[in-house]
Every structure is written in C-alpha cells, then in structure tokens.
Subunit: 153 residues, 2 copies
DNA sequence: GACAGAACGTTGGCTTTACCAACGTTGGAA
DNA sequence: TTCCAACGTTGGTAAAGCCAACGTTCTGTC
C-alpha cells in the first residue's frame, strides 16, 4: 500500500548523491526538456535538430553544410541526413557554390520560413512547460548560468 | 586566414534564438557534461548508467529490478541489460525474492562497493571540469534551480 | 605548372540513451 | 477459481552522437 500519489512518476526517488551532481541534474532536466520539445515538434512531424538547422539559417543566413555543422556543433554526416529531410520537404535548398565547387550552399526557402514560424510557437510552449516551477528572475538566472558554462568551454 | 583561435571548437556560433532557449541550453550543457563523464568513466570501462545504478544501491539499499527502475526512471528493459553488465563483472548480485518469486533482488557486492568508490572520484572530477567557469555560490544556485524544476515535475 | 595536403559532401558503421510491445511466470483480489 | 496486475525478459525502433573512409575540389608550395 504505497502512500504515494497515483501518477506516472510513482516511485521516482533518485539518491541524494545523484541529486547533488550537476552533470546528473542537467542531464535529467535536459531529458525532461527533450520530452516536451519532442512532443511539441512531433505535432508538425519535425525533429529537434530540424528546428536547430532552420533557426540557424533564418538568423545567420545561408551557409555551406560544413559551416553549418561547425556553427551548431553537429557532425557533417548527421547534418547530411537532416538536410536531406528538410530538402525533401522543400524547407531548404541545396545549391553548389560556383566559387568553391566543393561547397553546398544551404538556403532557407519560403515554405521553410513558414514552417519555422510554426515550430517557433511549439518551442516556446515547451519552454514555458519546462520552466513553470521557476519565477521570472529565476528563469533569467538559470539562463545566465548555463550560458556562462557554455561560453567558457 | 581566420582569426579564430586554433582549437577543436572553431566556428561554434549557435544563433541567439537558441542561446536563449532553456531547453537548448540545458541540452547543450548536458551534452558537455556527458562528454566529460563518459571520458572519466571510460577509464574504468563503465557507463553513466552503471554509476547511477551502483549509487542507488549503495545509498538506498537493495531493490527489485522494477523498483530500481522506478527510483531512477530507467526502463525495465534497459535496466535488464545494465544489470547483466554489472552482474557479469561481479559488481552486483541478483537473487530471486523468496517472499515474492516474481522479483529479483539486486544487491551491491563488495567488489561493487570498491568499484563505486573509484567511479565516485572520476565523477567528482568531471563535475569540477564542467563547473569550472562558475563561482561557488553560482554552482549552488544552479543546483537549486535545476532541482526545483525536477522536483515540481 | 605539378604535387601534396586540406576541405568538402557523402556513405556507412557503431554506441548510448530512450521508449514501447509482447511473452511466460507469479502474486493478489474478487 | 478466475482475472488482472506486476515482474523479469526478449526484441525492436528511433534519436543523437561520434568516427572512419572515399572521391571530388581547392590551395599552398616547390
């Protein structure tokens, strides 16, 4: 007869040692965030990395595949598959760079821009769901701390 | 002639839209932490989840496989493989619970305890590496915020 | 100008983590 | 006793991350 609340996370009780570990905490929060984002984006049949690529193209402009990979820290081979998906859906165009024919210049199409606008809303909803327990200033502080870690790497 | 420093992360420059997203930030920091932890644990041929399981057994005591899975939010089937690894290395023992013969009671062995002590040091080193850019109070605050998110889920 | 090495896109493979579905066994409740 | 739940187990899928190798194209150097 467990006296825990009857919910899907019944019994969840990680040891204190783990709950004190920053790498464990970030991994666990990231997992939760990923679940929320995946559920949101799945409504449009998109993956998290599709959103990442589209966002980079929209904000930072066209780029070769290799440059895109460096900007986002995504492996060339993984990016290849992602771009194939996006190109297949007409959200992105790949064209050989005539000034350097090794390169494929990736461009956001008009449908791509439209799709991204839709995904943007999905993503924002997921952020709110994840950060619901935090106040506005706590959210800001969390962002600052995480950025500080990333920036110094 | 790029004027960037010659390092392995050359060109890393994610769009501001992503750098503002909590789910993206936590995922990125978690990825970095995972790399550090994996590199540390690999020296002992262990996986992150091996450490998780051993830690739970050490701190929270023996448990059935199902209960272990609920505590750590690890799927039964994934846990099965992890326990097979650990049992194969003699770090863990599985014994049928005679009071409920559906259950396998998992116990930490003496070699398991020894191995965990080794892994503990590896893990702590990885924490320091990840949090290097933060002050002591910032580390504490980050932990608090992440725990608040997890606890309320 | 020829040559060696680097960068590029591409293909293929492997690992970890995360889920889900189904089976036979065992226990508990109606 | 019967039905359902829980358990361990097996098998499968998918996302993500990472690495090695190939042929093509550029670039720097001799």
């Amino acid at each position: 007869m467990p006296n825990v609340i009857d919910d899907e996370h019944a019994g969840y009780d990680p040891p204190a040692r783990l709950r004190r570990l920053p790498t464990w905490l970030t991994a666990e929060v990231a997992r939760q965030g990923r679940r929320l984002v995946n559920a949101s984006l799945a409504q449009d049949g998109a993956l998290r990395q599709h959103f990442t690529v589209l966002t980079s193209l929209a904000e930072q402009g066209p780029a070769s595949q290799a440059e895109l990979g460096r900007r986002l820290s995504i492996d060339r081979s993984d990016l290849h598959a992602l771009l194939a998906d996006l190109e297949g859906n007409g959200l992105v165009a790949r064209a050989r760079d005539e000034r350097d024919r090794r390169r494929n210049v990736v461009t956001l199409t008009r449908p791509g821009r439209t799709a991204l606008a839709r995904l943007d809303k999905r993503i924002d909803a997921a952020q709110d769901a994840l950060l619901a327990p935090l106040t506005a200033s706590e959210r800001q502080e969390l962002g600052r701390l995480l950025q500080k870690i990333l920036h110094a790497s």
